[in-house]
Subunit: 139 residues, 2 copies
Amino acid sequence: MVIPGEQALAERGLRLTPQRMMILEAIEARDDHFSAEEIYAQVRQRYSHMNLSTVYRTLEILEQAGLVTQTDLGDGRVRYHWTEKSRHHHLICQGCGQVIDLEECLLAPLKETLRRDYGFSANIAHVTIFGRCAKCHEV
Amino acid sequence: MVIPGEQALAERGLRLTPQRMMILEAIEARDDHFSAEEIYAQVRQRYSHMNLSTVYRTLEILEQAGLVTQTDLGDGRVRYHWTEKSRHHHLICQGCGQVIDLEECLLAPLKETLRRDYGFSANIAHVTIFGRCAKCHEV
DNA sequence: GTCTATCTGCAAATGACTTGCATTCACTAA
DNA sequence: TTAGTGAATGCAAGTCATTTGCAGATAGAC
């Protein structure tokens, strides 16, 4: 179990190909939110034949396996993060584009309310709130 | 001042063209979240020469004027709603796609916390929470 | 080693917008 | 009321992230 996700792939009858290994390593090396294109660029530094379609397809199966989570950060592309690493939320400033991370516990009461009153099981790792940061608010 | 938004347009030196009037009327007739394409289809029933670019451009200026607000409902397109009508949030079920509306006040405490602790002025009309509704949760 | 369903690479397709530009037109000032 | 003009429209072409079809390659079971 050297490579993270190896087991998760095997459990689903999915193959651990060199391409997938490189993509998994690239993802593991990051703590932030990355786009498919960024992972593609990163892997290409080591393996120049990496294909962008393969990155997209790999991210898709990793998401289905629950290893990776999608987020919308308001730019026109999907961003991903390693599910286990990022249990937090995002404040996105519509003025300067800054992304502020929020602790998970801040939304715990809300999550409980949603479950109790609406029967809704919130995927709280996905919450993104738009607005203006202190600096941009004055403008 | 028969047409909503007429004043807001005039204040910005923007013209009230027939196309904009039709788009404004189409928007006013709706209480839900609509895409540019939907407004386009709706207006075309009355005026078959309506142009999709014009719809996009009009929605853009209406957003700048604050009359209309953008939301991300998780499908791959931008959705809009009439700002005054929709002071609420959305729970989106990732199982069945259902959109549940939430009352605005539910997030008021969170908004206050964000302002106090982070200096962040949350645009609370934009909040969307993904998860699973009661029906889809059992699966 | 063999076999086969799964993967990959490539190129082309998709789909939601966006843009350039020539033409048309809503408003303003005379 | 009517020019004049900057703004708006229509159309076609362009973007850009992402997806897909398909033929050839290959991981992993046996």
